[in-house]
Symmetry: C2
Subunit: 230 residues, 2 copies
DNA sequence: TAGATTGTTAATCGATTAACAATC
DNA sequence: TAGATTGTTAATCGATTAACAATC
C-alpha cells in the first residue's frame, strides 16, 4: 500500500468525520449502515471516483450494487491514519490558543489525548486548564522521556518556538504540531506540521477585495473543493 | 491579470511575511533592500522559478542581474491580496479560540482589525477580551449594517454555527472565516473559508504511526513544501 | 564585455475526472 | 435478468520544474 498524499489524508479525515457522525446512533433515529461513493461525494462536494480511489488506497472494498459499510470504512480509516493506536501528546504554551486546544473535547475521535501542559510562566504553573494541571518547563524533558511521548503541540509565542523545538527534539519527540508563526529548524527525523492560521487571510482578503460578480464559494482548508457535478 | 489560485495566494502570503520581516529596520541591523528569487526560494524551500512566476502573476517585475526590491514586492502583494484596503471584521464566540484571535496582535499586517466581538452567553457580555468589549447577539445585525462590516469570524460551538451563518448572510456579510467544524450552508455569494484545525491530525497521526526510515519532514499547511534543490 | 539574474516557453509531474468494464 | 454500483484504466487538467533566451 503506497504512501498516502496529503490531500488524500485530509479527504480521508473528512470522510471519517462525516461517517462517524452519520453512523452514530446518538445522532439520528436511523444511523446509516451502508453508503455509496456517490452519497459521500455529494456531501463532500467532490467527484465520486475520487472517493472510490481514496478508499482503494487504504484497502477498502465495497459491494457492487450496494456500497460501502460505514463502520468498516471508519475502522479502515482509523487503522490507516493511526487513530486507533491512541497517542498521548503534550502541549506547551497554555495561553488562549493552548487553552482552546486543551478544552476541545473532539480530539479523542482521532486518538489524540493531551496528557500534560507546560508553560514558561511560573504564575500559571499549578493552575488547571481544560483538565490539565500546568507543569513547569523544567519537567518537560523528564516527562517526555518517562512517558514516552512522541507528539508535542506548540502554542507558545513565536520567539520561544525554536528553542523549545530543539529541546523537544533532544527529548525524543517525533512530531511537532506547530501553531506558532515561527519556522522550526529541526532534524529531518522530526515531523513538523505547521498550522499557520493567518494564511487564511490571504484568501479572505483577496475574495473580499475582488467584488466582481464571479465570486464563488470555496471551502475546506488546504485542499480546494471543486463543486461536484450533479 | 488572471485569478490567483489558492496555492499561489498562500505562497504570496508567505513571501509577504518573510519580506516584511527581512526588510523591517527594527528586526536587523541591515534590513534587506533587494532580494533575488533564489534567496526567497531557498527560505521557502521552493523552486525559484515558482517564485518568479508568482511575482509575474501579480505584475511584479525585477531587474535582471539585481533582483527584486523588497518593499516593492511587499506593496504589490498588499495591493493584490487586498491588505492595504484595511477591512474591519467582527468575531462571534468569545471562548478560548475567539479570545486567542482577539488577542493576536499580528493581524494588522494583513489589513485585518477585529472591531467587535459578540457572544450568546449574557454573563460574558460587557466583559473585555483582547481590547474588545463583548456585545450581545441582538446587536449583531444592526452593528453589521451600520458599520458596513463584510467579514465575520466564527468561533462558536459547532451547533450554533449554521444559525449564525444564516443571520450573518442576511445582515450583509460577504465572507465568513469559519473555525467551527460545521459545514455552513450559505448562498454562493458569501465566501466561506473553513479552518478545520483537526485536519492536521490526519497527517500527524499518519506520520507517527509510520515509524519507517523513510519519514521525511514536511511543513506548511495545505500546500506541500518540497525541498528546494541546492 | 561577461556574467548574474530575470522572464518565458516547454516538459514533467501529480492529482482529478471521464469512461467503461466487472460484479452481484 | 437488468441495473446499480464498484473497480480500474485512460484522458484531462493544473501546478511545478526544467531549459533557455533576454537583459542590463
Amino acid at each position: 500500500m503506497s504512501r498516502l498524499t496529503r490531500p488524500r489524508l485530509e479527504r480521508l479525515m473528512r470522510y471519517y468525520q462525516f461517517l462517524c457522525d452519520q453512523s452514530c446512533p446518538l445522532n439520528s433515529e436511523n444511523p446509516v449502515r451502508v453508503v455509496t461513493s456517490a452519497q459521500i461525494a455529494q456531501a463532500m462536494e467532490r467527484d465520486q471516483t475520487l472517493v472510490r480511489k481514496d478508499f482503494a488506497a487504504i484497502g477498502i472494498t465495497g459491494q457492487p450494487r450496494v456500497g460501502f459499510s460505514a463502520v468498516e470504512v471508519c475502522s479502515a480509516i482509523r487503522r490507516s491514519l493511526g487513530f486507533d493506536g491512541a497517542y498521548p501528546a503534550i502541549l506547551i504554551g497554555a495561553g488562549h490558543l493552548g487553552g482552546a486546544l486543551l478544552a476541545y473535547p473532539g480530539f479523542h475521535l482521532y486518538g489524540l489525548s493531551i496528557v500534560a501542559a507546560f508553560d514558561r510562566d511560573s504564575s500559571k504553573v499549578g493552575t488547571k486548564v481544560g483538565g490539565c494541571t500546568i507543569k513547569p518547563l523544567g519537567m518537560l524533558k523528564p516527562f517526555i522521556r518517562n512517558q514516552g511521548i512522541e507528539l508535542a503541540i506548540l502554542t507558545t509565542p513565536a520567539d520561544e518556538a525554536q528553542e523549545l523545538a530543539t529541546r523537544l527534539e533532544e527529548s525524543g519527540i517525533r512530531a511537532i504540531w506547530n501553531f506558532t508563526p515561527a519556522k522550526l529548524d529541526v532534524p529531518e527525523k522530526v515531523f513538523v506540521r505547521n498550522e499557520q492560521i493567518s494564511l487564511g487571510l490571504a484568501e479572505l482578503a483577496y475574495r473580499l477585495k475582488d467584488a466582481g460578480p464571479k465570486r464563488g464559494r470555496e471551502s475546506a482548508r488546504g485542499t480546494g473543493s471543486k463543486k461536484a457535478r450533479k
